[in-house]
């Protein structure tokens, strides 16, 4: 390119697609994992073991889901980071 290198050119996909690629698959997997977990474990029993007596079931499902989503999103985020070719990282630092 003759003109100045696009400062974003080291990225491989657009921002919207990156955000979707992090948040969306992790949402789906967290949903499945969370359902599977609560199918096997009754939040009521879980509350007894964990020593949280005021754990409502809806609360447990919801917090469980949000925590799993956070974990899977973190994994997707790291994957996206690792997907960047190394030479593009060099390009970035060269600027």
């Amino acid at each position: 390119m003759n003109s100045a290198v696009d400062p974003k050119s080291y990225e491989t996909v657009g921002r919207c697609q990156t955000v979707a690629a992090i948040l969306w698959p992790s949402f789906l997997v967290a949903g499945i994992a969370n359902s599977m977990f609560w199918v096997m474990v009754d939040p009521h029993d879980f509350g007894l073991i964990a020593g949280i007596s005021e754990l409502s079931r809806i609360g447990a499902y919801s917090v469980g889901f949000l925590l799993s989503w956070a974990a899977t999103a973190l994994s997707s985020f790291v994957t996206i980071r690792f997907c960047k070719p190394c030479n593009q990282l060099n390009q970035k630092s060269a600027q």
Partner: protein, 466 residues
């Protein structure tokens, strides 16, 4: 230094990824496939919005009661223990998707996907408030005035209201919807209910109002692997290049064939109606969701021109190549057989399902205990779940060791939907033990209905004396 061709490639890539997304303003379309889609929308959204309001014997007919861990579906109550049925149902859904994709491409995307269905409603609202494509394009370009603000405001207000109703209905599948309505009205709604209503509303508003075709292009897993299910006999929406090219504008009366033109009048209507903004004349593309809007609009144009319909149509690769199309092919037959088999299997399995569950947990604190009279004792916690609609008395029969004694067993009526926990101890003369670990068979049966029975195994631990 990179070679010129490499440079070109980089330039292309950058342009491809960083061209700002242009808002797509599809033109409204009338025709056979548009009618089918309206039917799909009415049916699916009708089910979605009204199902939670249907009552059966005084309680909500479809209620996935998460707080109580019971899932009511038209008189049948499922439990977390019935997870197997859900797994089978999901496999059936996946197989059905394979079947229909192989048959006629992305039928799911075009007529039944929630993304399509809700986007369709959002576009109706948009069309109603802002007008058709030309008016909307004009409005997009216009500077913000009081009039534009009013129009945009109205659209978003209707969108948000509709989304909130959608979010409310969603939570209504999990919490009794009437109670939910009352608690909403007197502001006594719990924080999690609020959270999920707003979450789902926001998702609807964002996906159907703003994201639209980007969801299909960037977020849909199915779109990524649908091509693997296509073959040369799959019905796909195609532009008949042979017939259409060379395209060009012309007068209606012109004998276009002698003028060296094809049937395509290059009116670009197929591009204007496309909700994903592609030109079907460029061939089958990943972005095409199979909505067939281009077929409807092109047929209309062909009719007005006095040409034969079907320049864009559902057809197969084989037909386009002049070969024969086989709808009934091994792949289709196999999918159909497996699908039918699984549906029948699931139906039979649900129909003959035994609404009783017995869980046995051996006391983990001690291997065994010696009772005062020289007998060896093991403790068990029994969990009996009555999944039937009526209450029952049950009889429990334990076998496996000669002369075993059961202590602590009570004959109690267990209500419908009740989980009864019982702690029992089993005492055995150690002489009867052939091994340090012996299998016991627990047989439980409803007293009034011998068909309701379950067998479970557990182990008895004890010392070896001989």
């Amino acid at each position: 230094m990179s070679s010129p061709s490499q440079q070109q490639q980089t330039e292309f890539v950058v342009e491809e990824f960083y061209k700002k997304r242009e808002k797509i303003q599809p033109r409204k379309v009338k025709g056979l496939f548009a009618k089918l889609r309206i039917l799909g929308v009415a049916l699916l959204l009708g089910l979605y919005y009204f199902l939670p309001w249907i009552n059966l014997n005084g309680s909500q007919a479809v209620l996935l009661d998460l707080p109580a861990r019971k899932f009511h579906f038209f008189g049948i109550t499922f439990w977390p223990q019935d997870f197997f049925y859900l797994a089978v149902l999901l496999i059936i859904a996946a197989l059905a998707l394979f079947f229909f994709t192989t048959l006629a491409g992305r039928l799911w995307c075009g007529y039944a996907c929630p993304q399509t269905v809700w986007t369709e409603v959002f576009m109706w609202i948009e069309h109603y408030v802002e007008g058709d494509r030309p008016q909307r394009l004009k409005l997009d370009k216009a500077p913000m005035t009081a009039r534009k603000f009013r129009i945009r405001g109205t659209k978003h207000a209707i969108w948000v209201t509709f989304s909130l109703w959608t979010g409310f209905t969603f939570v209504g599948f999990f919490t009794p919807i009437r109670e939910l309505g009352f608690s909403l009205a007197d502001f006594s709604l719990g924080p999690w209910e609020w959270f999920w209503i707003l979450f789902y509303s926001f998702a609807t508003y964002g996906n159907a109002g703003w994201m639209r075709e980007q969801v299909c292009t960037y977020m849909c897993p199915y779109a990524r692997f649908q091509s693997a299910m296509f073959d040369k006999d799959t019905l796909i929406i195609s532009y008949d290049t042979e017939r259409g090219e060379p395209r060009g504008k012309r007068k209606r009366k012109l004998d276009y064939k002698s003028a060296g033109l094809g049937s395509c009048v290059d009116c670009t209507m197929c591009v204007q109606v496309c909700p994903t903004g592609i030109d079907i004349r460029d061939g089958l593309q990943y972005q095409c969701i199979g909505c067939a809007a281009c077929i409807d609009v092109c047929d209309d144009v062909m009719e007005r021109m006095g040409y034969e319909k079907g320049l864009i149509r559902y057809t197969t690769e084989n037909t386009l190549e002049g070969k024969q199309t086989h709808i009934l092919r091994p792949r289709m037959i196999l999918y159909a057989l497996v699908l039918t088999g699984m549906i029948i299997g699931l139906g039979v399995s649900i129909a003959t399902r035994i609404p009783l569950e017995l869980n046995i947990i051996r006391d983990r604190n001690a291997l065994y205990r010696e009772a005062s009279n020289g007998l060896v004792e093991n403790i068990y916690t029994l969990k009996v779940i009555n999944m039937d609609e009526q209450s029952h008395h049950y009889s429990l029969d334990i076998s496996g060791i000669q002369g075993l004694e059961v202590i602590g067993l009570k004959d109690e009526e267990i209500q419908s939907g009740e989980v009864k926990e019982m702690i029992i101890s089993i005492r055995v003369d150690p002489i009867e033990l052939k091994s340090t670990s012996t299998e016991l068979l627990f047989h439980i049966e409803a007293v009034d209905n011998p068909d309701i029975q379950q067998d479970q195994k557990a182990r008895f631990l004890g010392p070896l004396v001989n």
